[in-house]
Symmetry: C2
Subunit: 216 residues, 2 copies
DNA sequence: ACCTGAACACCGTTCAAGT
DNA sequence: ACCTGAACACCGTTCAAGT
């Protein structure tokens, strides 16, 4: 039974789970996380709110799926053959770019990550590089966690400040420091990242407090 | 709830803004952020929801005040006379402890920070140490930002995983990695922090990407 | 100065019932 | 298999009015 018949005779189009996630990502980028409600999403899809719950368990799982979409480019490329510190920097930069690619991307990913509903990006990738290089997997995990938390936290802050600036510097805030706000718009991200990568390099060279194995 | 006796003649007790923030912090610790609503808080205070808006501009500002309370111990102690890297580690540890001291503390602080409604802790402190040591203020800022974002991000994740574990490992999650979950319960925090501090130390020694200056 | 009462414009989610 | 309709149990916030 169920012989194909996707939309015979011009009936209302049926949606897949993927369509719902696509629509959610698009709506997120347009209206921002605070205004991304299940009801608005339903309206956007031309459907009753309750219909969404056929495709998706609940809002958090939907946001997790959206997060996975946002993070897709991070786990993509890897040439292998690089050292762990170089790989870590590349992952960090890709993660940063991916989070910035959608409105409130960092916040969405941050909470899915915290809830354990998406795999930390880079984790598997860096582990592979570590193996190749004869470094321990737990060192790779430490590096991956450090980079992930730093980048997500930093980008979250960055993104929020941008939308605050866009909306106009309004009531009661501590006031976004009036240095440059639209120059290269890096906000010190690369400086901070350099710091972390310097740590990775140092540790890899055997200069840390507690990583006894210099090489093997 | 509120002990104080400014209540002569048995009239209904009046609340100050501080009372409201106190109650919010207490309720946060008891029920968690998702269940901390203005209506529940009002009930907790024996007051109509609308009454809260006399004391507080809105929910976000209330949470900012709660965040400032949580962060108070971080900016407290400073002995001076330490190097920047040692100071950075101490700040990181105090921040970590303070965030863990209240349920969902990291999440609350994270969003207040991102919205620019609280000053980043440590910022001023580390700047002072930098001046004392003849380091640049912008280096101190970079260090402060790096440490802050890392610690807040990491602790957020840590705290969320704890309450997930407490509630029982339920439906659909990626599954909290089944290593140890109740050992020292450090989750790699100190290992990651070591990495960052190694970066700070390296940069202070002039050993960043360019290696010209061995010391100063 | 501090609070009530009532309302406005929303939420996420469930569930029987339809096709 | 996919969706509607209606309901449940909530939200944050505003504002006139009371004391």
């Amino acid at each position: 039974m169920i012989a194909d018949d996707s939309n015979r005779g011009g009936r209302a189009p049926r949606r897949s789970r993927d369509d719902v996630v696509d629509a959610a990502l698009e709506l997120l980028d347009r209206v921002g996380l605070p205004d991304l409600s299940m009801r608005r999403l339903a309206e956007h899809l031309g459907v009753q709110p309750s219909a969404l719950y056929w495709h998706v368990e609940n809002k958090q799982q939907l946001l997790a799926a959206v997060s996975a979409r946002i993070l897709r480019p991070v786990s993509a490329a890897d040439e292998a053959g690089t050292s762990l510190d170089v790989a870590a920097r590349e992952v960090a930069v890709r993660l940063h770019d991916s989070l910035l690619a959608y409105r409130d991307g960092a916040e969405v990913v941050s909470s899915s990550l915290a809830l354990g509903l998406v795999e930390p990006p880079a984790h598997a990738h860096l582990r592979a590089v570590a193996l190749e290089r004869g470094e321990s997997a737990s060192l790779a995990d430490t590096i991956a966690d450090t980079v992930t938390h730093f980048v997500v936290g930093f980008t979250f802050h960055q993104q929020q400040r941008r939308s605050a600036d866009a909306w106009g510097a309004a009531s009661g805030g501590v006031a976004a420091s009036p240095e440059r706000i639209a120059a290269g718009d890096d906000d010190g991200f690369t400086a901070a990242l350099d710091l972390i990568i310097a740590g990775v390099t140092t540790v890899l060279a055997g200069g840390a407090t507690q990583y006894p194995e210099p090489r093997r």
